[in-house]
């Protein structure tokens, strides 16, 4: 595992609600290599966010539990780590950008006060040094007049600006791994493009790895080196970016790609995958996608497909069995 920075192995997470337990994550495996941008895509409810929260150790302690599996970060298993050790990693070696820039900043503190938090936690710096560092990073993320911004409150900034502040918050300690949970979903399209461009730049400059969680395949195409497609708490396909778009193996991935609006063909109606992601407690035997799959056959309802590997391209679909050529 020389070049892997994050390795998630057979991760299983359980949620308790009352007496019932559900398993929203059932055996998730993926690796993130150093310097790579890995996209995690899937519909709402597919378990992307839960996976990312698990990596950060942010799952609610009272109602959730990692039942099985490992999350190895630089060879250390995060699931077995004590809270105190974990705190040294959070915000320092791994940091996270959240979906909602509007609510991710504390309304009663100035930007400067909030940005000094990670440095005070993880670095031994004087006030002056902290301020200098913050202004540096704010300039890096393209915030004009950073010297003034640090004395302003979150409500004085626009959504795009706040997301830049959030990115700088994640950048301050120069983490090795940045997790971005739908960082652009709450922003309008023009700002989205700017923020994505910015993240790409910063990632390259600081030699970070990026785990990008999104439901937007456009964003994935723009940003990622490899993609993990999740469905109902399982990984259904992992592939290098071009290969995924050129040759999707899993019918679900194909459905996702087909339901993207394209510029050249004016379709009457956009394609959509019928039905919904099954709730974790509705999953029985067979393939999780079988009930929505246009290509499903008897076997799909009987037996869960294993992982079929072809080089780096991994998929979990019976169609990959034996007669590979048949599937297109």
């Amino acid at each position: 595992m020389s070049d892997a920075i994050l390795e998630v192995k057979n991760l299983k997470i359980q949620f308790k609600s009352g007496k019932e337990t559900v398993q929203p994550i059932r055996g998730v495996d993926f690796t993130l290599k150093k310097g790579e941008t890995l996209g995690v895509v899937g519909e709402s409810g597919s378990g992307k966010s839960v996976t990312s929260l698990a990596v950060m150790g942010l799952l609610p302690e009272t109602s959730s539990e990692i039942v099985d599996g490992e999350i190895n970060f630089n060879g250390k298993d995060l699931t077995k780590m004590k809270e105190k050790q974990f705190r040294k990693i959070r915000g320092n070696e791994i940091s996270m950008i959240f979906q909602e820039p509007m609510t991710s900043l504390n309304p009663v503190f100035t930007i400067g006060q909030q940005l000094s938090e990670p440095l005070r936690q993880h670095r031994n710096m004087s006030k002056k040094e902290i301020e200098k560092e913050i202004i540096d990073v704010l300039n890096q993320v393209g915030i004009p007049r950073a010297e003034q911004i640090i004395n302003e409150y979150p409500h004085q900034l626009s959504g795009g600006m706040r997301q830049r502040v959030m990115i700088s918050l994640a950048l301050l300690c120069q983490p090795e791994l940045m997790i971005a949970d739908e960082p652009t979903t709450a922003l309008d399209v023009t700002i989205q493009a700017q923020i994505l461009e910015l993240m790409k730049d910063i990632k390259d400059k600081n030699d970070m790895s990026l785990l990008l969680i999104t439901h937007d395949l456009g964003v994935v195409a723009e940003m990622c080196d490899r993609v993990v497609v999740m469905y109902a708490g399982e990984i259904v396909e992992v592939a290098e970016i071009n290969e995924l778009f050129d040759e999707p193996r899993h019918p679900y991935t194909r459905g996702l790609i087909d339901s993207m609006p394209t510029q050249n063909a004016r379709k009457e109606r956009l394609y959509s995958i019928s039905g919904q992601v099954p709730k974790p407690n509705e999953i029985t035997k067979g393939c999780v996608f079988a009930n929505r799959c246009p290509l499903a056959f008897d076997k799909c309802f009987e037996e869960a497909p294993p992982v079929f590997e072809k080089g780096d391209h991994i998929s979990k679909c019976w169609l990959q069995d034996s007669k590979e050529g048949e599937v297109v």
């Binding site: 915000g91 609510t103 504390n106 004009p144 003034q148």
Partner: protein, 301 residues
């Protein structure tokens, strides 16, 4: 308006604010925009001044009885609001009564607010069994009528200024506990708290440094509204003969003593009554204005 600056620069120019006005100046400019808030604030200031400088303002000794001058109507013999059944100057007694009201209102709010806030924070932040236990205690206590509860406690621990503060505080902390708990519950699920955990801040630090500062606004609003309640409660209790004991003048016991003369000498009961109404009105008007001003939801508008 008509500016020679290009669009972009103009926008930039607007966003570069001049040095922000001080908090106090901002407070007054906000206050001047609402006449109800201004009225409430004026009444409160007047009340505070009266209770501080009372002894120097009163024209007569409020506890000095002069039987030759009893039950004088207002504006006679130099008695602005008349005299009571023992010939004491009512104007002086009302001024001195303000002191009792202010002390009781403020002291009770401090004690009840402190206890209630601590309980609310513990229950809301740590949840689990401690939340269940504390909130059931609050529920049980809320099922008793406030005045009745205060009277019972007062009857047990005895009358007097200190004891009435204690009994009002015991009766009143539950409101604070309830409100603060629900605020904390809402806050701890906010994304900025998750983001704090994600930057490696410890749980205790999050509570003290990131949640508590967010509680100041609801605390201030609730406290300002509760002061009025406590002042009225004190008056009710003193009226019923518990609480502040004569000859110390308090608006409540002035009402109590004056009620026997209500048909012959109306001024005995009217003026302390007006004082209570004005005080409660002032505090509530101010509290309402504070709520509207400090509510972050309305702030941007």
């Amino acid at each position: 308006m008509a500016s020679s600056l290009p669009q972009g620069e103009q926008a930039l120019d607007q966003s570069v604010k001049p040095k922000q006005p001080s908090k106090i100046a901002e407070f007054f400019s906000n206050l001047s925009r609402s006449w109800t808030g201004m009225l409430g604030f004026s009444i409160i200031i007047l009340l505070v001044l009266l209770s501080i400088f009372g002894p120097w303002i009163t024209p007569y000794d409020p506890e000095h009885a002069e039987f030759g001058k009893k039950l004088l109507p207002p504006m006679t013999d130099g008695h602005l609001l008349g005299t009571d059944q023992l010939g004491r100057d009512i104007f002086s007694r009302i001024i001195m009564g303000a002191r009792v009201s202010v002390i009781i209102g403020v002291a009770t709010v401090c004690i009840a607010g402190l206890i209630g806030t601590i309980v609310g924070i513990i229950a809301g932040y740590f949840r689990g069994w401690i939340d269940i236990v504390l909130m059931r205690i609050v529920d049980v206590q809320l099922s008793f009528p406030f005045i009745l509860l205060v009277l019972v406690i007062n009857a047990i621990i005895g009358t007097g200024l200190r004891n009435i503060i204690i009994s009002l505080a015991i009766g009143g902390w539950v409101i604070f506990a309830r409100v603060i708990r629900s605020e904390v519950l809402a806050l701890r699920e906010k994304e900025f708290i998750t983001s704090c955990i994600a930057t490696g801040v410890s749980r205790l630090e999050i509570l003290v440094k990131h949640i508590v500062p967010n509680l100041f606004t609801p605390m201030i609003i609730l406290a300002s509204l509760q002061i009025g309640t406590y002042i009225i409660a004190e008056a009710s209790i003193s009226f019923l003969g518990f609480g502040v004991q004569p000859p110390t003048p308090a608006w409540g016991n002035m009402l109590n003593e004056g009620k026997d003369y209500i048909f012959s000498s109306w001024w005995l009961i009217t003026f302390p009554g007006i004082a209570i109404v004005l005080t409660a009105l002032g505090v509530n008007l101010f509290g309402d204005w504070l709520r509207d001003t400090l509510d972050p939801e309305l702030k941007g508008e």
